[in-house]
Amino acid sequence: MAERYSSFERGGRRWLWQRITAAFLVAVLAFHFFLLHFVHHADEVTFGMSQARMQEVTYFSLMILFLLTATFHGVNGVYNALVNQGLSGTQETAVKAVLGVASAVLIVQGVRTALAWAGGVPI
């Protein structure tokens, strides 16, 4: 029987959510790169073009979901990598708090930016 080797605690949900968000991000990150570098070119970006995309409810909601899943996947990945390196006790609690605050700031700022483009929720 092969020994178990994982960054995640046995029976935890974080491993599952890391994989679920990964499956979503594989598709959306590839789409994001393709749309903004190959269909449109990065040097042609203007506020008006970004605004036109964000005013579509489908694109707006996809980007909000992209922000939420990427933040979770990234921050959860960092946390697990640090636990994997031996982080524990008070340091682990402190890192968890810092990452939690950083995630909240990132999500709030991302949503504010999306709303600035769309001029409100596009419904």
Binding site: M1, A2, E3, R19, A22, A23, L25, V26, L29, A30, F33, H37, F38, H41, A42, D43, V45, T46, F47, G48, S50, Q51, L67, A70, T71, G74, V75, G77, V78, A81, N84, Q85, G86, A102, L106, Q109, G110, R112, T113, A116, W117, G119
Partner: protein, 141 residues
């Protein structure tokens, strides 16, 4: 039945010469993950200039609002374009190796883990090289 295999601690980077393909895959996945999460924060910070630009109707129409100006200025720098190619390399490897991990988790291709890692590297290289002309378009004038 799979065999028990004591490969030692992958976290002990000092013994990197002894690392197997799977251990390099682990190291590269962590490294690209750190780069991508760092970029995510930078990306949102740069895009946040749209908050200041919103409402500047005339400037937006004239395409000289703060968001358009910042993005255009960044994209005119060769170093930014080269960093974007690097970002693509990091993202493509993370995506392809991530797909490999998902398959391994599902028990698919367990006997070909080394080959699928090498395939991820080769495919990353091919996609990045093929994308260079698109990523550098217009930067030389």
């Amino acid at each position: 039945m799979s065999q028990s295999y004591d490969r030692g601690l992958v976290e002990d980077f000092g013994r990197w010469r002894e690392f197997s393909a799977g251990m390099w895959a682990w190291v590269f996945h962590k490294f690209t993950g750190w780069v991508l999460v760092g970029y995510l924060f930078t990306h949102i910070a740069v895009l946040s200039t749209a908050i200041s630009a919103a409402g500047q109707t005339q400037a937006i129409a004239a395409e000289n609002d703060v968001y358009t100006t910042v993005i255009t200025a960044l994209e005119s720098l060769l170093v930014v374009r080269i960093l974007e190619v690097g970002l693509l390399a990091v993202a493509v490897f993370h995506i392809l190796n991530g797909c490999r991990l998902l398959l391994v988790d599902l028990g698919i291709g367990l006997d070909s883990q080394d080959k699928s890692f090498y395939a991820s590297l080769i495919l990353t290289g091919a996609i990045v090289v093929a994308s260079v002309p698109t990523f550098l378009a217009g930067v030389f004038g």
